[in-house]
């Protein structure tokens, strides 16, 4: 076996295992950290596919951004007590049926598709093409997404300042 193959299986198993822990863990913070391992595993798989830019983006955005946001949300909304993060499973039967159906569908598609296997050569300019595409063909969606994010940030700031000016008020003393 090649080293890359070993690494591929290692990261695949790690990703799937972490995902399983995330789903089955009763503790929501444990789930969040399992999600982290899963995301890092996916990033490693991207690296094995020579998609280094996507791998780094995966780390920066999902692990460094969204996951931290999730953890923040979990920790702040549970009133600061550190061990009250239990989750329970509801709607066991419909959920199982639905997920089994989706799984069957995916396996069916996986088996049925006529996969074309080709040897990937290591590209030496991954980001150059990406940049060209973003600033060329897809410049409009790119800018629209940027404006949307800007509006979201302004909205968030507006909401945050209103809330904090209410709660942080130095009360006068008698």
């Amino acid at each position: 076996m090649e080293l890359t193959t070993i690494l591929f299986y290692f990261f695949s198993i790690a990703t799937i295992g972490a995902a399983a822990v995330m789903v089955f863990s009763k503790n929501i913070v444990h789930s969040a950290f399992a999600l982290m391992f899963s995301l890092i595993g996916v990033a490693s798989l991207y690296v094995l596919l020579y998609a280094d830019f996507i791998a780094a983006t995966q780390l920066l955005v999902y692990v460094g951004g969204i996951l931290i946001l999730i953890l923040f949300g979990v920790m702040l909304t549970t009133q600061g007590r550190s061990f009250d993060y239990k989750t329970i499973t509801v709607n066991l039967v419909p959920a199982s049926i639905l997920s089994l159906g989706v799984a069957a569908l995916l396996i069916f598609v996986f088996v049925k598709t006529d996969w074309m296997i080709s040897e990937v050569a290591e590209p030496d300019q991954t980001i150059y093409d990406l940049g060209m595409l973003l600033m060329g063909d897809y410049v409009l969606p790119f800018i629209i997404a940027g404006v949307l994010l800007l509006i979201a940030i302004i909205g968030a700031i507006l909401m945050a300042t209103r809330l904090s000016s209410q709660s942080i008020k130095n009360e006068n003393i008698e």
Partner: protein, 342 residues
């Protein structure tokens, strides 16, 4: 079956490559901890360590390391055991992994990938998570408060860091740290100044100041050392740690300091380029110059550490969101304009 014999051609160089930065980090950490004490001693009008190893207590950090190795590894009863034990190693792994793209000299770089800077920033964002992990797993309110603070701080200060790194990339036109370094060779500016980026564009001086303030915050150094501010939060996320795990945190912190300083050296001060053109160049001297630049920045961090008080958490956030981020974006535009005009 795994055929190791066939793989030695791959595995051995990889292991050697991995070992080089590790050696540099460990040796640097031992020197830096001793150095920090000496700097503190000098600033505070005292001697610092003097006894261990006779000459100015040079062996003090080795003795400390041995002491830490022998200490009991305490895990609090209600802690989340796996995460508690894992967090320090993950933190060190994150800062260690980032060293892969640092060009130590023209002859040595761990991995010469195209997206060097981007990879470095992405990997260091794992530091934040490991701090949250340690903070939460300790099951201690002070730890949790410290973890939350540090997460907020690091996430915020990542923005100005990335924005200033972006200004350098605009000038350099590459994300590859090796390429960025190579293009700063030579001494052409005003006839004698080296072609370092900080001299190439006046707005990059502003960028460097913003960058340096942000890395102070990213590396949890005074005046932004709120996550572990000993007078308020006891020791922040490290409160419950002892022995080797605590040593791992310290190692990671010092490694992080060096990493960000070296990044600063690459981005603004010409990386491994000698300040005297061809004089004193060559792979070994390049390594010397590079480390010298990085350690100088580390020294400035220590100097600040022992001089200033620390900010409060809301003031810290205000500096980031209210001053550094707008300034860095305005600066980005100005740098770009300068590049277009000249």
């Amino acid at each position: 079956m795994i055929n190791f014999a066939a793989n030695t051609t791959y595995t051995l160089p990889i292991l050697v490559h991995a070992a080089v930065p590790l050696t540099i980090i460990v040796v640097y950490a031992l020197v830096a901890i001793w150095g920090e004490r000496k700097v503190a001693g000098f600033i505070q009008d005292r001697l610092g360590p003097m006894h261990v190893g006779r000459w100015h207590g040079w062996a003090q950090s080795i003795a400390d390391l041995l002491k830490l190795l022998q200490k009991e590894d305490i895990v609090p009863k209600d802690a989340s055991r796996f995460l508690f034990k894992f967090a320090p190693f993950m933190m060190f792994a994150a800062s260690y992994a980032a060293f892969a793209v640092i060009p130590f000299s023209s002859g040595y770089i761990g991995s010469n990938i195209n997206i060097g800077v981007f990879y470095l920033l992405a990997v260091t964002s794992l530091l934040t998570l490991s701090i949250i992990m340690a903070a939460w797993a300790s099951n201690n309110k002070w730890s949790l408060l410290g973890g939350m603070r540090s997460a907020a701080q690091m996430v915020s200060y990542e923005v100005p860091t990335i924005a200033t790194v972006l200004t350098v990339i605009v000038v350099a036109g590459s994300l590859n740290l090796m390429t960025i370094t190579e293009m700063q060779a030579g001494n052409d500016i005003l006839g004698f100044l080296p072609n370092w980026l900080i001299f190439q564009n006046p707005f990059l001086i502003v960028a460097f100041i913003i960058f340096f303030i942000s890395i102070l915050a990213e590396a949890h150094r005074v005046p932004f050392d709120l996550p572990e501010s000993e007078s308020e939060l006891v020791a922040g996320y490290q409160t419950e740690y002892s022995g080797i795990r605590w040593a791992m945190f310290m190692l990671a912190e010092y490694a992080d300091m060096l990493l960000l300083s070296l990044l600063g050296a690459v981005l603004f001060f010409g990386g491994w380029n000698s300040p005297f053109g061809d004089f004193m160049s060559g792979p070994f001297w390049e390594f010397f110059w590079f480390m010298l630049k990085g350690l100088l920045l580390v020294f400035v961090m220590m100097w600040i550490r022992w001089t200033l008080p620390r900010y409060r958490v809301d003031q810290l956030m205000h500096i980031c969101w209210g001053i550094l981020i707008p300034l860095s974006f305005i600066n980005l535009v100005l740098v770009a304009l300068w590049e277009v005009i000249f």
